[in-house]
């Protein structure tokens, strides 16, 4: 086993003299204790973090892990569940931190405001400016909303008018179609045919009578051009009845 795995160690004695410390060695001696302070503070923070990690591991190990052998899918599901719990804990923590920060900020602000002279403070000026701007914003938003409402109303009316005109046009069309149908049906009905035939016979009879009268008058060798009444009668007899 030992021949299989080999290990090499490569180490670097890093700049433990402080963050980016080397170039500052040549500087003033006042810089050195500063470096040492930051180093100590940094080490303190590190050690705290490491202690926290160890403590949390100890707490975690106190929990009993389930010993039964589970299916792989169940294990996956369990793992995801636990991961979600971790996420939720993180989120809850962040929320609480945020709320705490806000409370701290507001108390600090309150104390600051109590101390200073209200009339000359830049902070109060800023706050007043912010309030004014907010009022303007709200007003403009309200105006925008109103305009949008109007636009919506106009559009609705337009739509209604469009629909009404559509209906009217439809009605007109149906009426026209009905008329056309009536006309066509009339043209094909039998009544019309018989009436037409009667008309034709009557026209023929009248034409025959016309010719008979014409021949009567011509045959009597009367000068019909002299008498206006007779002239009118003759001219009337010339009328071709089929053209009417």
């Amino acid at each position: 086993m030992e021949t299989q795995s080999e290990e090499q160690a490569v180490a670097k004695p890093a700049d433990s003299g402080g963050e980016g410390g080397r170039p500052q060695v040549a500087g003033a001696p006042a810089v050195r204790p500063e470096d040492r302070m930051t180093l100590l503070l940094r080490l303190r923070a590190q050690t705290k973090q490491q202690l926290l990690e160890y403590k949390s591991m100890v707490d975690a190990n106190e929990e009993k892990t389930p010993e039964q052998i589970m299916q792989e899918k169940q294990i996956e599901a369990k793992i995801e569940e636990l991961e979600n719990e971790v996420e939720e804990a993180k989120i809850a923590f962040e929320m609480k931190k945020l709320a705490l920060d806000r409370m701290q900020l507001s108390t600090a602000l309150k104390k600051h405001l109590e101390k200073i002279d209200i009339k000359t403070s830049v902070l109060v000026d800023n706050m007043k400016q912010i309030l004014n701007l907010n009022k303007l914003i709200m007003k403009s938003q309200q105006e925008t909303w109103d305009l949008e409402e109007k636009l919506l109303d106009v559009r609705k009316k337009r739509l209604q008018l469009k629909q009404a005109s559509e209906r009217k046009l439809l009605e007109i069309q149906t009426e026209k179609n009905k008329q056309k149908d009536d006309l066509d049906s009339m043209g094909n009905s039998n009544k019309i045919k018989t009436i037409q035939q009667n008309l034709e016979t009557e026209i023929q009879i009248t034409t025959v009578i016309q010719h008979v009268f014409q021949n009567l008058i011509l045959g009597s060798k009367v000068n019909w051009a002299e008498d206006p009444a007779l002239k009118e009668t003759v001219l009337q007899l010339e009328k071709n009845l089929t053209m009417i």
């Binding site: 086993m1 030992e2 299989q4 795995s5 080999e6 290990e7 090499q8 160690a9 490569v10 180490a11 670097k12 004695p13 890093a14 700049d15 433990s16 963050e19 980016g20 940094r42 080490l43 923070a45 590190q46 050690t47 705290k48 973090q49 490491q50 926290l52 990690e53 160890y54 949390s56 591991m57 793992i79 991961e83 971790v86 996420e87 993180k90």
Partner: protein, 180 residues
């Protein structure tokens, strides 16, 4: 020959140790050199190993981060890593293990599919990093990333722990894992 445990030793003051495990010695050495060149306020120790378990005769400091380097060009490296994973204590997988896949740039040479490594990382719930360790610039940026990870895992960054970082890293990975 016992399993490696994450917290069985006390940490050294201002020291952070990383263990790189992989079959490609040259790549690991280069990566170690890039990491040591990085500007870091803590003392860095880089240990290289071909496979776990490590011989217990050597006196070594507490290991803060283990990076398993898988070369996508060779199936042997993947097998090696899989075998080594058995020798780790389960507590390590709470953020102190990372997988690094190299060689993804040259797709024609890849004998291990990318998805295999992704699934492996998903099974062990650890972050997976991709890097072409043969290119100088990528190696340098990856070294920088690893140094930051190492600092967090060693507890040198107040307010962030390895587990915290794990859940932070997980957030960006999830969408792609849904496709698997």
């Amino acid at each position: 020959m016992s399993a490696l445990r994450p917290l069985d030793k006390l940490p050294g003051l201002n020291a952070a140790t990383i263990l790189l495990v992989g079959t490609e010695d040259a790549l690991l050495q280069q990566l170690a050199d890039s990491m040591l060149k990085e500007d870091c306020t803590s003392e860095l120790n880089v240990h290289l190993a071909r496979a776990l378990p490590l011989p217990c005769s050597v006196n070594r400091p507490r290991i803060d981060l283990i990076v398993f380097v898988v070369n996508l060009h060779s199936k042997h490296s993947l097998q090696n890593v899989e075998e080594s994973l058995c020798h780790l204590d389960a507590a390590f997988f709470l953020g102190k293990v990372t997988f690094l896949a190299t060689g993804a740039g040259r797709d024609s040479h890849c004998s291990v599919h990318r998805n295999t490594v992704v699934k492996l990382a998903h099974t062990y719930r650890s972050p997976l990093l991709f890097c072409d360790l043969e290119v100088e610039d990528f190696r340098a940026s990856m070294a920088q990333r690893l140094v930051r990870l190492l600092q967090i895992c060693a507890g040198h960054v107040p307010g962030v722990s390895a587990l915290n970082l794990l859940s932070l890293l997980r957030g960006s990975e999830n969408p792609s894992l849904e496709d698997l």
